[in-house]
Structures are given as C-alpha cells and as structure tokens.
C-alpha cells in the first residue's frame, strides 16, 4: 500500500495569515488536530496543530521544570490559560506553525510512513510532491481507514 492510497480525504489547510481564533474554529469544525499551512500556490509552508497552541501558551519555565522532572504548572494560577489565550487570539498562524516539518513522498509505502511516525512520534505527516506542492495529510487514523475495507473483503 502506498502513502497516496491512505490520505485523509479532505485535509485541513490554512493560510499563514489566519488568526489563532480562526485556527481554533477550523480545527474544531473539521475534527482534525493538525493542519497544513500552504501558500496561494499550494506549496507546503509548515504544520500547525492544537499542540502548537498549547506549546505557545505554556511559559518557558514549565519546560525547564519538566527537564528537572517537576510540573510547575501546579503553581500557576487558575485563570492563566484563559488570559494567555485571550491575549494571543489575534496572533497569526505564522507565529505558531512549525516550519521545518518532516514530510513524506506520496510514492513511499505505508509501512515506511508508519515507521517514520513511530520513530518521530508523529500523529500526522504531511505528504509533499517533489516540486514542493502539498499533496495531502497522512494520519494514524487515515492509514487504518485505508486498510480496513480490504480486510473486510477478505473475510
């Protein structure tokens, strides 16, 4: 099975000028946790997801504490998340997105893609053509969906 055979049917794509608030609505509407950021020529610019929003909102000292094995989140006041979210609402996707992303080729095999996802601890991987065009999105779910009908046929 090739990667091109197990893509998400309607992947979520966003422009880098979109605001955080719009991004959250889009993500919630589509029931997808990760989106590809593309330019007007459908070139892949990066990826953005709920994880990136959380990372942006969490203060740096949380990561420092985690490195020492401690969750300093226990000492932050209750309203912190709401305040930070409110303050960042109009920030653009460009400020959140991950630019250097791992991607795969549509002609790669599904097992290669799965190995990449496991190795890199990714829930989704963008699929990019040789010319840099965004082809689609591969997720753990889309791979399983692609494999299931064939199993049913066999049984």
């Amino acid at each position: 099975m090739k990667v091109s055979q197990c893509l998400v049917p309607t992947p979520l794509t966003l422009s880098k000028d979109m605001s955080l608030e719009q991004l959250v609505y889009k993500v919630l509407d589509c029931n997808q946790t990760t989106a590809a950021v593309v330019d007007s020529n459908n070139k892949l610019l990066g990826m953005v997801g709920i994880h990136d929003i959380f990372k942006k909102i969490l203060p740096s000292y949380i990561k420092m504490g985690t490195d020492m094995g401690i969750n300093l989140g226990a000492a932050i006041h209750e309203g912190y998340f709401n305040e930070k979210f409110e303050a960042l609402k109009s920030a653009t996707v460009a400020e959140f997105m991950t630019e250097k992303v791992d991607y795969i080729d549509p002609d790669d095999t599904a097992i290669f893609a799965i190995a990449e996802m496991v190795k890199r601890k990714r829930k989704a991987l963008p699929v990019k053509a040789e010319n840099g065009d965004f082809v689609g999105m591969l997720t753990r779910r889309s791979i399983l969906v692609a494999v299931l009908p064939k199993e049913k046929e066999k049984s």
Binding site: P59, M64, M68, L72, A75
Partner: protein, 458 residues
C-alpha cells in the same frame, strides 16, 4: 620531579614547543568558543599522549601529571546525588514555601532567593542551584507580573559568591583542594568568613539598585499565597532520603580530615547509597550527569599535565617569581597580583582551565622559593603547601578565580545558564547589561577579598 629533571637535562625538551603549541592552540580554541570546549580539551589531551609528551601511564595513573580522579568522582557523585534529589521536587517546594513565608512580597522574595542561592551554591554547586531555582524564579515573577531580570541577575551573581565559600561550591576550589591537600574545613575557616562579608555587601547594594522594581499590588501577592506548594513535592519519601544522605555527606566533608577519606570517596558512597535506596533507574540518573563537563576535566588534566612535564609551567612560575618577588617569609605581592589577575582572567576565560594551569604554577613557584627546586612542585609536603606564607596564595587564587566569574556573562557556567534561561523566557539579558552589574560586583568582591587577605594574613 624526575620529569622536570628530564626537561632540564634535555631528554624531553624537544617536546617543549610542541606541548606549548598544543596548549596555546587549545586555550585559544576554548576562549574563542567556536568549538565545544570538551572536544578541544579531549583532542589536546589525546595529542599530549599520542605524540607522546605524556606516557599513557602518566596520563591515567600519575597523580601529578594525569587525570585527577578526586575531582572527576567528586563531580560525578555530587551530580548523581543532586539529580536524584531534584526528582523529589524539594527545591521547588522550598522556593514556593519561602515566597509564601514572606507573604509574596517581591522585595523579600528577592532577598530570600538570593540568600537561598548563595547558601545552596556553597553546599551543592552553583550550576545546579541556578538550574533548579531559575524556573521557579521565572514562575514567581510571571505570577507577580514583574520583570524576572533583577532576580535572575542577582541569583547568578550570588551563586558565584556563595560557591566561593566551600570546597564543593565551585570547581576551582575542588581542584585546589585536591592538589594542595586542603580539607573542607580549611575552606570554611579561610574563605567562608570573607564570603559572608562579600555577600552582605553585595545583597545590600543589589537590593538598593533594584528596590524600585520590586513592588506589586496586594492582589498579585495574594496570588502566590494561593499556590498549593504540596503539589510540587513529587516524592516526599525521596525528599527525606536525599536530604538525609546529602546532609550526611556534607557533614562527612567537614570531617574528612579526621575520617581520612577524600571528599570524592564520601560523595561516591553517598551517591551509591542514594541510588540504592531511591530505587531510581541508574541509567536515567546517569543520563543527567554533565558528561561534557566531566570529559572536559579529563582532557584538561592531560593537557596541563603535558605542559607541566615539559617544564613550561616551571618557566612561567619563574616569571611570576621575577614579577612578584616572593620569599620564604613574604608572599604579599604574589597574593595580591594573583588575586586580581585571577579575577580578571576568570571573567574573560573559563576559570576551570585557568585554575588547572595556575595550580602547578603555584606549586612550582613554591618549589623554587622553599626548596630551591630540590623537591618538585607536585611532590611538596603538606607542611610547605599549608605554611603560613604560602596558604594565602592558595586562598588568593581561589577567591580570584571564583569571584572573577561574575565579571562577564561567560565568566562562570551559572551565568551562561541564567542568560540562556532568560532568553528562553523571552526576557533576554544582553552581554553589556550583565557586565553593568557583574563588573562592579566582581570589583567590589575582589577589593573586599584583598583587604581580608591583607588584614588576616599579613
């Protein structure tokens, strides 16, 4: 001594310039920071063995020319104990409880955190102290909605002052103690008093400078009072176990002269016991050891061993003698020159390679002055190393090298870490901003140290 004699008689003199070239090139590379200092020290050390300026026996087994395992194992063992202790959340709990104890007042937190940093740096090491306290400092500043910069700057400076007080507080002291055979209590008796004075002056001035930035509304202070500090304690039993072991090891340090056990041995026993009773996976704990620093030391010892063997350090010590004119009865000028030179040098370059070079230099100078070169510097008996004329020279070296670290952001590892954390938090401290507080702190500290050495020993 036999190697120094070999140098004089020409048996190894053909290597003199080769060793000098390797040493200078390595120093230049370390100062430039273009290449990781661990790589530089290891390559330099390896070249000393391969060429062969040092024999393998000397590099690995000679107490005078090779790797100093007292230093290596003391560092590793302390890192292991502190890593295990850090898993408990005890440091964070103490920090939050301290902030609550002073009702969330930023000015009082400022004073308290600086004091905690200085004391912890003396008992643990200054790098670990700032690694543990800086994240909590950033958190409290964020909650109080004030700039964390005064806190971070003051903590970095205080860590270098506090670390000066004890044998284990700063790597230069560990190295001096190992080679000059000083005990933990020697450092407490000779350095702690002046460090207390320097700290009191420092905390008074730094508070005065930043006092206007340390005011917030009562509502913000109230926020800190609502923090449930208990949630930060991840493992209460581990907190007790590690405090007990570390406390016992520190008491052991103060008695190591009586126990006839090196600090490295005591720390290693403590680390082994704590690993055993903490039930932590040793692989995970050992991953946290700063192996880069450990191998930096290993390479550095071989690098310095090479130039000691060929006689370069002896020649430099003769220069120091010519410059400062030390005699069997008086080394006042030598102490003063060494104090200020070490301070300034340590602000510019890493104080670890500096002290590694200066120790054999002082030993060789003492050899010339006290024994006319009949006993090699590294073989000098304790009576010579600790005599009332030479002792202040060692203390001048320790004070200069440790306190000088405050002179620039790259002068001490703690400064580098604090600068990095401030940048990560989106509150960068510029090189010049650090210098604006660091240089006066270093100058005042060295001036106090100078007066102390003068009044106490001369």
């Amino acid at each position: 001594m036999e190697h120094a004699v070999e140098h004089v008689t020409g048996a190894v003199s053909q290597y003199y310039w080769v060793a000098a070239a390797i040493f200078i090139a390595a120093y230049a590379a370390i100062i430039s920071e273009k290449i990781d200092k661990t790589k530089v020290a290891l390559v330099g050390g390896a070249l000393m063995v391969i060429l062969p300026i040092l024999t393998q026996e000397e590099a690995f087994y000679s107490p005078h020319l090779g790797i100093d395992y007292n230093v290596i194992y003391l560092l590793i063992s302390m890192m292991v104990m502190i890593t295990i202790m850090s898993y408990s959340g005890l440091f964070e709990w103490v920090a939050i409880k301290s902030a609550q104890l002073v009702k969330g007042s930023p000015a009082k937190i400022f004073l308290l955190f600086i004091t905690i940093t200085a004391v912890s740096s003396a008992l643990l090491d200054n790098v670990t102290t700032v690694l543990l306290l800086a994240p909590v400092t950033l958190l409290l500043a964020d909650e109080l909605e004030i700039s964390p910069i005064p806190f971070l700057l003051a903590e970095a400076l205080a860590s270098n002052i506090g670390g000066t007080a004890t044998l284990i507080g700063d790597p230069p002291n560990i190295m001096i103690a190992s080679k000059a055979q000083f005990t933990f209590m020697d450092f407490i008796v000779h350095l702690a008093p002046v460090v207390v004075i320097i700290f009191i002056v420092f905390i008074s001035i730094i508070y005065f400078v930043f006092r206007k930035q340390l005011v917030v509304s009562p509502e913000k202070q109230e926020r800190l009072m609502k923090i449930n500090a208990k949630k930060l304690i991840k493992d209460k039993v581990l907190a007790w176990k590690s405090s007990l072991v570390l406390g016992t090891v520190i008491i052991g340090f103060s008695l190591h002269g009586v126990l006839h056990l090196e600090p490295a041995t005591l720390a290693m026993v403590g680390a082994a016991i704590l690993l055993l009773i903490s039930k932590k996976d040793p692989h995970h704990v050992l991953e946290k050891v700063e192996w880069g620093t450990i191998f930096f030391f290993a390479g550095l010892f071989m690098l310095v061993g090479g130039v000691v063997k060929v006689g370069l350090i002896t020649d430099l010590s003769l220069g120091l003698i010519e410059l400062t004119g030390p005699t069997k009865d008086d080394m006042f000028l030598t102490s003063m020159v060494l104090l200020w030179f070490s301070g300034i040098a340590s602000a510019i370059i890493d104080n670890i390679p500096y002290v590694a070079t200066m120790i054999p230099l002082v030993q060789d100078m003492a050899s010339t002055v006290f024994t006319d070169g009949k006993i090699a510097g590294a073989d000098l008996p304790v009576e010579v190393l600790h005599n009332t004329v030479l002792s202040p020279v060692w203390w001048a070296l320790a004070l200069g090298a440790c306190l000088g670290g405050n002179g620039s952001p790259i002068g001490a590892s703690a400064n580098v870490i604090v600068m990095g954390m401030a940048k990560q938090a989106g509150k960068p401290i510029s090189f010049l901003k650090f210098m604006a507080y660091g240089v006066p702190t270093m100058t005042v500290s060295l001036a106090i140290a100078m007066v102390y050495l003068w009044l106490r020993y001369y």
